[in-house]
């Protein structure tokens, strides 16, 4: 195939790559035009999402890139989520005196990496995608340079992220060594046959590497520290889209590359999922800082998504996709609330800071309540539907005990969400809060309205789209 024929399957990636470079040049020559760069970033991301939505299905670059319903579904979700991150983050940084044009460019590059992860068809593009988005995220985490905590978070994220990349690469090289190919489709021919211990060894390392990226326990250690230290809008970004990208990658590797070893990876996923649910639920109980709390909540939620994926069926992949999309809305919305709140210029980050918030800021308090109840899994909020899909898939696949344990774990986690709600609604006010910035406030409210009640209408479409996407992964 010619390069242009190949590109037909990769227009969104091309738009983002070229666009990021162009914005970088624009920023270099007109460093004051940060708003313009930001607007350009949003437009490019939305354009990439549109291009992804209409791109033809097929395989490009010798199998390195896949364009199918699954890749398209994930890419659209990733690009839209990234587009939200720019208006949420850039003004936040500018209000804190960090007036630089790199923020949108880095978001674009991260989105490009995530897009590659979602579309990768072999180990090379997998690794390039993972690294590209990780490097961009490391910088974003440390972008608030004058803040010691943010720098610490960036460094921690980088060191542990590099370690996980090492594991990933080691696993990939083992797989390549034993399979003789980097293409998932070729690996699938070898995996599952007799005497493939080395291949499984490689798979386990690869899974560990991805587990790091999705912050599944026991590879979650970095998450609370990084969430706590990193700037809040950046957390809103990297708690959402990258998780979806990595989960889709997970599904891609396992479903396309190791279809016949399903029995093996299912066990690993169930273990990862249940440990994550347990760690997320129990360790979250003692947290006072909301960003740490939500880090543990995200660990628990990834646990649920992993349980869905562990079903090893198309229904399981569908449940994971629905779960991740709904979870992305939830977590972005929650961090948008946090980004909107401050008291005398100081960020409000602990549960006690939120005391009596309902009297001070009823809108944001209501939005945070909605996101908390959703994360708790209470019907009819979006988080319930996410869990509904996941547990239904797990039960249909016969994972009865893991599903019940997961559900019980959600009751434990309910305690800390209720603690937050209690603080906002029951307690006396901890003082007046500053006027929330428009963009964070608006994003929080819109996402809250989606979480309840719009989700009940949107699910019909999401169900169909995710179903189609899931069938692209080739599982029964």
């Amino acid at each position: 195939m010619t390069i242009s024929a190949n590109l037909a399957y990769a227009y969104p990636l091309a738009i983002l790559g070229v666009g990021a470079m162009a914005l970088l040049v624009l920023g270099a020559f007109a460093p004051k035009q940060t708003t313009l760069v930001g607007a350009g970033g949003v437009i490019l991301l939305l354009a990439a999402a549109a291009a992804a939505a209409v791109q033809p299905f097929g395989v490009a670059f010798g199998g390195g890139l896949i364009s199918d319903a699954g890749a398209v579904f994930a890419q659209v979700a990733i690009y839209v989520a990234s587009a939200v991150a720019i208006p949420l983050g850039q003004p936040w940084f500018e209000r804190r005196g960090v007036k630089n044009f790199e923020f949108p460019v880095l978001v674009l590059l991260a989105a490009l990496g995530m897009g590659m992860m979602a579309a990768s068809g072999d180990l090379i593009s997998l690794y390039v995608g993972v690294e590209l988005h990780s490097l961009a995220l490391y910088v974003l985490a440390a972008m608030h340079r004058d803040n010691a905590k943010a720098s610490e978070a960036g460094l921690k994220y980088f060191v542990l992220g590099a370690l996980s990349s090492g594991l990933l690469l080691y696993g990939a090289s083992l797989i390549y060594g034993f399979a003789g190919s980097t293409l998932f489709s070729q690996i699938a021919l070898v995996a599952g046959g007799a005497g493939n211990t080395g291949l499984l060894f490689g798979l386990v390392f690869l899974m560990c590497g991805i587990a790091f990226k999705v912050s599944a326990a026991p590879f979650h250690m970095w998450t609370p520290d990084v969430y706590e230290g990193a700037p809040t809008p950046v957390v809103a970004f990297f708690a959402a889209a990258p998780k979806l990208a990595a989960m889709v990658l997970f599904a891609r590797v396992l479903a396309n590359g190791f279809t016949h070893a399903a029995g093996e990876w299912q066990q690993v996923l169930v273990a990862l999922g249940l440990i994550s649910v347990a760690v997320g639920a129990f360790a979250g109980l003692v947290q006072k800082n909301l960003k740490r709390l939500w880090a543990y909540s995200s660990i628990a939620n990834i646990g649920y998504a992993l349980l869905g994926l562990a079903s090893g069926t198309a229904e399981g992949v569908q449940s994971m996709l629905v779960f991740m999309v709904l979870y992305m809305v939830d977590v972005t919305g929650f961090f948008a609330c946090l980004a909107a709140l401050s008291r005398e210029g100081r960020a409000m980050e602990t549960i006690d800071d939120m005391a009596g918030l309902f009297r001070e800021r009823p809108g944001i308090a209501l939005a945070m309540t909605v996101f908390s109840l959703s994360a708790l899994g209470l019907p009819p909020f979006s988080g319930f539907w996410a869990k509904f899909y996941v547990f239904k898939a797990a039960l249909d696949a016969g994972l009865l005990v893991p599903a019940v344990l997961g559900l019980v774990g959600s009751v434990v986690a309910a305690f800390y969400y209720l603690k937050l709600i209690k603080s906002m609604w029951f307690d006396g006010s901890a003082g007046a809060t500053d006027k929330p910035p428009f963009e964070a406030h608006a994003i929080a409210v819109v996402l809250a309205i989606f979480t309840f009640p719009v989700v009940m209408l949107a699910l019909g479409g999401l169900d169909i789209l995710a179903g189609r996407a899931a069938h692209a992964f080739g599982l029964a």
Partner: protein
């Protein structure tokens, strides 16, 4: 359409109050007053709709009526309908809500708008529970109801409100997630979430056992049955008066309704298998919690424990497996909804005046409050099950039904009637009779017109149901007979 109207009409009130909140000041007395009238109008309108529903209800049809169906997504449907078992609970809910609004008229002074919104939402959600004919729709109403109640206890409750609210929420949630697992399993294996279809589906007896236990976990907590009843006294003591009325009057009935709607028709073999367990737990509940009630020093806690004991009779009647027992159980639930609601309102009357619920604080109220004494007396007698009150009909029938299924259970449970007389009469004597010892009571005033207006409908219904039980049985018997027939056929009896 009528069912959806009954269910969602209170939300119109919510919208009205929200509009007030947006355009007016939340603490402005005018706004607050307008909000109260909106809430009262909405609940009264809903009551009118509920009455219309009961009037139009065809008592000879044992199946579901007023059925509404609309496809949703992923094979789920918005499906509503009522039969003879559920229709009166809809009425009970609509009946109690306006009383709750009136009862809170003066006693709630902070964040009144939110309070009214919580009650109106609760009304919608509770009605939805009794009308839902789709498992997931049912689950949504069932679970979402936790939130307004959590807020009602937590914001407007007493000193240990936070503890009580958390306990209430987490206890119920733990039970419910197990039910959710069972619901998902049922949908996965039968590919339908329609309750009527599932009632006709025959599950393998081994599977039934597990599904039954999962539903039991949820309904036993809700009911509440001994030994998972401990959240109830805490929740009652801390909740504001109207919260207690709703909790005892209607929320607990969701447990009994769940047994009737799910456990018996869907898992008949398992129900039969576990009947001895239910009987044992019910007997313990009746005797043990009656004794516990006797030792309470707090009026509200005493009535809360007495609720647990009365619910013991209900579970017994439900699992007796004969029409008499089922009818008795339903009757007992309706009657208890009225009487326990009224008793909590009685407590509210003196609590509003003296701000304590300690039994020892009171005494000799009859000297200053003759009308109150008379009203309290009547409801106490109703709680004891005196013939002529609605309590008697429910108790006698559920015990008769149980007697047919298990003689010893009925005999042991009958002691509960004596015990309930012991603790209620003791309570009444200590609070109402005697001379006024406590100087603080010297100025206590009798019922005002607002309180009379609250108690009058409750009094009338207690007495009416006591002498005219057929008005209820006419509506319920067709559905109950069918339930029993199907149940007996399934267990081969």
């Amino acid at each position: 359409m009528l069912l959806s109207l009954v269910t969602f009409a209170p939300l119109v009130g919510v919208a009205g109050i929200l509009a007030l909140r947006l355009f007016g000041k939340a603490d402005d007395p005018k706004t607050v007053n307008a909000a109260k009238w909106i809430a009262l109008t909405a609940t009264l309108a809903d009551l009118a709709l509920a009455i219309l529903l009961v009037v139009q209800f065809n008592p000879n049809d044992p199946g579901f009526q007023f059925v509404e169906e609309a496809p949703w997504f992923a094979g789920l449907n918005y499906r509503m309908g009522v039969d003879g078992i559920s229709v009166l609970f809809v009425l009970l809910n609509a009946f109690l809500m306006p009383l709750c609004i009136v009862a809170s008229w003066k006693s709630i002074t902070s964040r009144v708008l939110e309070y009214l919104i919580a009650f109106l939402m609760l009304e919608t959600l509770v009605t939805g529970v009794f009308c839902a004919l789709d498992l997931i729709v049912f689950y949504i109403f069932f679970e979402f109801g936790l939130v307004p109640m959590f807020l009602i206890i937590g914001i407007w409750g007493g000193a240990r409100r936070v503890y009580a609210a958390f306990k209430f929420f987490l206890y119920t949630l733990l039970g419910s997630v197990l039910m959710l697992a069972a619901i998902l399993y049922m949908i996965g294996t039968t590919h339908t979430s329609s309750i009527p279809e599932l009632m006709a589906h025959h599950f393998d007896p081994a599977v039934q056992t597990w599904l039954w236990l999962a539903f039991f976990a949820s309904f036993a907590v809700k009911m509440p049955m001994w030994p998972v009843h401990t959240w109830l006294p805490d929740a009652h003591v801390e909740a504001p008066t109207a919260g207690s009325v709703i909790l005892a009057g209607i929320l607990l009935k969701m447990g009994g309704y769940g047994f009737l709607r799910f456990s018996l028709p869907m898992f008949p073999n398992a129900s039969q298998l576990f009947t001895p367990l239910i009987f044992a737990l019910s007997v313990v509940a009746v005797i043990y919690t009656s004794l516990v009630a006797f030792r309470q020093t707090d009026v509200k806690k005493l009535i809360a424990y007495s609720s647990v004991a009365h619910m013991g009779l209900v579970t017994m009647g439900i699992f007796s497996g004969n029409a008499v027992g089922e009818q008795g159980a339903i009757y007992q639930m309706l009657s208890h909804g009225v009487i326990s609601g009224a008793l909590f309102l009685c407590v509210g009357v003196i609590y509003d005046r003296m701000h304590t619920r300690e039994i020892a604080f009171y005494g000799g109220l009859v000297n200053r409050m003759p009308w109150y004494a008379a009203v309290f007396m009547l409801f106490s007698m109703g709680n004891v099950g005196l013939p002529g009150t609605s309590g008697f009909v429910g108790e006698i029938l559920s015990m008769t039904g149980t007697y047919r299924a298990s003689t010893w259970t009925a005999i042991l449970a009958a002691t509960g009637v004596i015990l309930s007389a012991v603790y209620m009469l003791t309570l009444y004597r200590r609070v109402v009779f005697g001379t006024i010892e406590n100087p603080k009571l010297a100025t206590i005033t009798d019922l005002d017109w607002r309180e009379v207006a609250i108690f009058a409908p409750l009094l009338i219904s207690t007495l009416y149901l006591g002498v005219q039980p057929n008005s209820v049985f006419n509506l319920t018997s067709a559905s109950v007979d069918q339930l029993v027939r199907v149940y007996q056929a399934a267990i081969g009896g």
